[in-house]
Amino acid sequence: MIVADRKSLEEILGMVADREKLLILGCKGCVTVCNVGGLKEAEVLASTLRIAQKKEGRPVEVSHRVLERQCDNEYVAGLADDVGNYDAVVSMACGVGPQFLSEMYPDQVFFPAVNTTFFGGAVQHGVWEERCAGCGACAIHLFGGLCPIARCAKSLLHGPCGGSANGICEVNKETACIWDAIVKKKMETGRLEDLVAVKPFKDWRTARDGGPRRSIREELVKGTL
């Protein structure tokens, strides 16, 4: 899923400083799963902003609601009857949400309440880690199921580098050297020789280097599936 962190209250308050009537808009997708922008979090942020407004003696008008997803126009359209009732909308979805909203409702202002960080998963309750870089050409099977694009600081395809010490990356003591793990796994499974194979260079055009990407499923577009 897409993982995000909520922006600081200070930053959110700064963004909406000159707006009175606000809607805090959660998303039931990834941000609900990573406990940052679902119904509960939208409710807490709305209450917090109301307290801030009351403290400053300003009129209090902060509502909250949640959309099934903010990355699908059919759900974004559900806001049509309500979106004009506010001075601004604060989206708690990943970066996709405020953009879909801005595209559908050009007359409204949408502020992001979260910083979208990475594609990953929860390794324990409250801890999420990056697992995928969305490079557009998955090759994890070549590396024992561990992705060096997302999990090596240099995205090396032929690591480890000299910065690896005792299984830890030189970039950060909290970061495991994924190449150390890849080599260990290959040794354990008796397939270390796999890493000797010369692989063709990686075509980064399928990643961000090729510009914004688009995925077209003809059968869905044509309605034949």
Partner: protein, 109 residues
């Protein structure tokens, strides 16, 4: 025991402090309460195993929110006592009221 405690405390009963949510604490403050405290069971003695620990974490979260808003975090507190400690209940109520009186009325009006 006929113990008395300050009349300006409004008690909201919950089956377990694990039911107390961040939004409940914020709502009380939003509606003008000068302070809110959670009276949970003694640590390690929760009938539902960890309801009081969960409540404590929520109180800590709300304290953090209040600090960010420039409001005294002491306006929210967590206490632990058993249902047999009537005297302690009255003592805590008095302590909390004194503490809130020291802080003055809430800036959230």
């Amino acid at each position: 025991m006929r113990l008395s405690y300050p009349a300006n405390i409004k008690i909201i009963q919950v089956p377990c402090t694990g039911r107390v949510d961040i939004v409940h604490l914020l709502s009380a403050l939003e509606d003008g309460a000068d302070g809110v405290y959670v009276a949970g069971c003694l640590e390690g003695e929760c009938h539902y195993l960890e309801g009081n620990y969960k409540a404590r974490r929520k109180v800590v979260y709300v304290k953090k929110v209040l600090t960010e808003l420039g409001i005294e975090p002491e306006r929210v507190a967590m206490y632990n006592l058993s249902s047999a400690q009537g005297a302690r209940f009255a003592e805590i109520a008095n302590d909390m009221v004194l503490q809130i009186k020291d802080l003055g009325p809430t800036p959230v009006r």
